[in-house]
Subunit: 145 residues, 2 copies
């Protein structure tokens, strides 16, 4: 019962993408270097994020990734749901499920967490990181046209 590392990578990548100027892109190569992990693995995660509509990718020489939503609308939950999936933490396989109290309590509690995560936005983290940009991750992005 833990968040996967992929979620961690996804969050950091998204935060970094939010610090980039509008219309500039950055490749998976650079993104992977910053976090010291394999480009191919990160690529799979980014593909997920792209399919989830959070980022978009352009192939080719000056290609790369950039966010594809208004920067202030991307919540933690958006990222987590995309990477981890959006099924419930607790689910019972039994079929007499009619108004099961246990499942209900568990799901309601989980919803509290999700509600909170849906109200925390990555842009705030990005701003915070930019302020104390001392030891934060850095990379070179492609200039936007």
């Amino acid at each position: 019962m833990k968040y996967s590392k992929a979620t961690n990578y996804a969050l950091h990548t998204m935060v970094y993408l939010l610090t980039l100027p509008r219309n500039s892109t950055i490749g998976v190569q650079s993104l992977a270097e910053m976090q010291n992990l394999s480009p191919t693995y990160l690529s799979k995660i980014l593909t997920k994020l792209a399919k989830g509509g959070l980022i978009e990718s352009t192939p080719g020489v000056k290609g790369g990734y950039k966010v594809s939503k208004p920067k202030d609308e991307i919540s933690f939950l958006d990222v987590i749901k995309t990477v981890e999936g959006d099924s419930n933490l607790f689910h019972c396989s039994m079929d007499h499920n009619e108004g099961c109290m246990i499942e209900r309590v568990m799901t309601e509690a989980e919803q509290n967490m999700k509600d909170d995560l849906d109200n925390k936005f990555l842009i705030d983290i990005a701003h915070d990181m930019e302020e104390k940009n001392s030891n934060t991750i850095k990379g070179k992005a492609n200039e936007g046209n």
Copy 2:
């Protein structure tokens, strides 16, 4: 990122134990039968619950398990923490952890879930199950002396 089956088993077992009359015990054999699972596996879970102080076990012929706390004080969180462990869902291995915003957001959200789970008590589920005791699990307990 899911609750383990062990948590499910633990919750159901605890709920059932709460329906038993004071000072009566029931063996892992019967408990396992009700839930259609192996006694030895359930035994490990129950041992965890025992070490966590939620239940206590007495060996020997008329032995078995019974709750070892006031029945109305056992929360969902008590059980979950004992089975799943109480570490955080999100944890970053980096050491520049000084006031990390990401981890903070994630942990705070998790805390909301935990707070809720700590305010939901198993005894209420047990009462609810007793009311509509139609299709609920049943077993024979040892009479209390």
